[in-house]
C-alpha cells in the first residue's frame, strides 16, 4: 500500500477558491450576454408578467441570495406552482413556504428508476412541487440519480444532437440547480456548466419550455455568484 492515509477532507487552498470564483463570475458575465440566444423574445412573451423580472435579472446586476439559509430540515409545502417556484428561487425572491403537515412516503431510487419517462416526470413534478425539498437529506439518493442521468444518458444525447425529452431534461436541470444551491456541491453546479456549454443547436430546443428554461437560467445565474464553492 503506497498511500498511508485515507483521502483527506477537502483542503482546497484559498488560491484555488479565488481562481474558481473568478472563472464563475466570468461565466456569469458571459451568461448576461448569451441568455437571449436561449430565452428568445417568443419565450419571454410566454412568461407573461414574470418576463421583465427575468430579463432584468439575467442581464443585470446580481442580487445573490444564500440558499444555505433556505435549506430545509423538514418537508415543506408552497402555494405557487413548480415553474413559478423555480423562477422565484432563481430570482432570489422571498419564498412563501410552510412546514408540511405530513411527510410523503419514501421514494427509493430503485422505485424511481423503474418508472417510465412520462411517469418519472410526473412523479418528480408532484414530489418536488416545492423544489427546495430535493435538497433534503432524505432525497440525496434521488438527487444523485438525477445528476447521473443528466451527466450520462442526457448529456450523451444532447452532445450527439439527438432527440431528447425537453421537459425531462429541463426539470432535472432545475432540480440539480436547487441541489447545487442547498448542498454547495460543485459537482451539481458543474452539471449546469456542462449543459450551458453544449452545442447551441441542442440548447435551442430547450426554448420549447420557456418557464422551465427561465427557471434554469435564473438559478444558474444565481449559483455562479455564490461565494463559497
Amino acid at each position: 500500500m503506497d498511500l498511508e492515509t485515507g483521502v483527506s477532507e477537502c483542503a482546497r487552498p484559498d488560491r484555488h477558491q479565488k481562481i474558481l470564483r473568478t472563472a464563475l463570475l466570468q461565466r456569469r458575465a458571459e451568461l448576461r450576454k448569451a441568455w437571449r440566444h436561449l430565452l428568445t423574445v417568443e419565450c419571454l412573451k410566454q412568461l407573461g408578467s414574470t418576463a421583465p423580472y427575468v430579463a432584468a435579472y439575467l442581464s443585470g446586476k446580481d442580487g445573490f441570495r444564500d440558499w444555505q439559509m433556505l435549506s430545509l430540515r423538514q418537508w415543506t409545502d408552497c402555494d405557487a406552482s413548480l415553474p413559478e417556484m423555480l423562477i422565484s428561487i432563481g430570482l432570489g425572491e422571498n419564498i412563501a413556504c410552510r412546514p408540511s403537515a405530513g411527510v410523503p412516503a419514501v421514494f427509493t431510487c430503485a422505485n424511481f428508476k423503474k418508472l417510465s419517462g412520462k411517469h418519472r416526470l410526473e412523479a418528480l413534478c408532484v414530489r418536488y412541487r416545492c423544489p427546495l425539498n430535493i435538497g433534503l437529506e432524505s432525497e440525496a439518493e434521488i438527487a444523485e440519480e438525477l445528476l447521473r442521468q443528466l451527466m450520462v444518458a442526457d448529456r450523451t444525447r444532447l452532445e450527439a444532437e439527438a432527440e431528447f425529452d425537453v421537459d425531462d431534461v429541463l426539470l432535472k436541470l432545475n432540480l440539480i440547480a436547487v441541489c447545487a444551491g442547498t448542498k454547495r456541491d460543485l459537482r451539481f453546479l458543474d452539471a449546469l456548466n456542462y449543459f450551458f456549454e453544449l452545442p447551441q443547436r441542442s440548447l435551442a430546443r430547450l426554448g420549447r419550455k420557456p418557464h422551465f428554461l427561465a427557471g434554469w437560467l435564473c438559478l444558474y445565474a444565481q449559483l455562479l455568484c455564490a461565494p463559497d464553492w
Binding site: 500500500m1 503506497d2 498511500l3 485515507g6 483521502v7 483527506s8 477537502c10 483542503a11 482546497r12 487552498p13 488560491r15 484555488h16 481562481i19 474558481l20 472563472a23 464563475l24 461565466r27 444523485e144 445528476l147 447521473r148 451527466m151 450520462v152 448529456r155 460543485l186 459537482r187 458543474d190 452539471a191 456548466n193 456542462y194 450551458f196 456549454e197
Partner: protein, 235 residues
C-alpha cells in the same frame, strides 16, 4: 499466476506485458480487442501507426513474435462480451485480467478471470469515482494518484483495492499533461499490484464507496480552472 492484458491495441498490450512480465511467477498473455469493430484494413493500419509511435520496430516485432509463437497472443474480432469471446477468455484460465481497453465490462467477461479484472483508475478511491477525477482532485486540493482495484459491474465500485499510489502532479502545467502522466503509470502500477497480490500475507483494502462520490465529465470552464491551478503551481 496467469495474467492477461486486455488491450485496445497490440502496442498497449505489449507495453504493459513488457513491464508485468518482470514479476516472478507471473505468466502473461495479451488479449487484443477490436473495440470499435473496425474493418481489418483500418484496424491493422491503426496498429502499425500505434506501433511506430510507441516502440522501436525491432523491440515490437521481437515481443510480438515471442507472444504469438508461445500462443500467448489472442486477437479478438468479436466484442468482449460476446459469448464466443468470453469462452476464449475462459479457455486462457487466467487468474487476473489487466484492463487497458477503454471499455466497461459485463459480469460474464469479469467472471472469465478467476480473481477478476484489475483497473488502474486515475483517482484515489474511495473518494474519487467516475470521470475527470484527476481534475476534481486538483480542484479540491486533494492528492492526485492512481488506485489499482478489481472492478465489478459498477463505476469504480469494486470492493477490493490492491494498491493506492499518490503521484505528485509535479511539473505538469495542464490537465492534458497531468492525465497523460497518470495514464502512463498504468504498466508500472499493474506490476506493483501483481507483486503485492503474489506476496505473502497480502490483504485487500476495502473500497468503501460510502466515503466517496461519483464524479462526471468536467465542464470546459472547470477544466480551465484546473489548468490555471496547475499552471500557477509551477510558475
Amino acid at each position: 499466476m496467469r495474467v492477461a492484458v486486455i488491450a485496445a491495441s497490440l502496442a498497449a498490450g505489449i507495453r504493459i506485458a513488457t513491464e508485468v512480465e518482470r514479476v516472478p511467477s507471473v505468466d502473461v498473455s495479451i488479449v487484443c480487442c477490436n473495440l470499435e469493430m473496425r474493418s481489418p484494413l483500418i484496424r491493422w493500419l491503426r496498429e502499425c501507426g500505434l506501433a511506430l509511435k510507441s516502440f522501436r520496430w525491432q523491440t515490437y516485432i521481437t515481443k510480438l513474435w515471442a507472444y504469438a509463437h508461445s500462443g500467448k497472443l489472442v486477437i479478438l474480432n468479436q466484442p468482449l462480451d460476446d459469448p464466443t469471446t468470453v469462452e476464449r477468455l475462459r479457455a486462457l484460465q487466467c487468474d487476473v485480467g489487466l484492463h487497458a481497453a477503454n471499455v466497461i465490462y459485463r459480469e460474464a467477461t469479469i467472471a472469465a478471470f478467476q480473481l477478476g479484472i484489475l483497473n488502474a483508475h486515475i483517482g484515489i478511491l474511495p473518494g474519487y469515482r467516475g470521470r475527470s477525477v484527476a481534475q476534481w482532485s486538483v480542484l479540491r486540493g486533494d492528492p492526485v494518484g492512481t488506485t489499482v482495484f478489481f472492478i465489478d459491474g459498477g463505476i469504480d465500485t469494486g470492493s477490493r483495492i490492491v494498491l493506492r499510489a499518490v503521484i505528485p502532479s509535479g511539473e505538469n502545467t495542464n490537465v492534458r499533461a497531468l492525465k497523460t502522466m497518470l495514464f502512463d503509470c498504468d504498466a508500472r502500477l499493474y506490476r506493483k499490484a501483481l507483486e503485492a497480490l503474489t506476496s505473502e500475507g497480502f490483504a485487500y483494502e476495502y473500497n468503501d464507496i460510502s466515503h466517496g462520490k461519483r464524479y462526471y465529465v468536467m465542464s470546459r470552464i472547470l477544466n480551465e480552472v484546473v489548468d490555471t491551478i496547475l499552471g500557477s503551481r509551477t510558475s
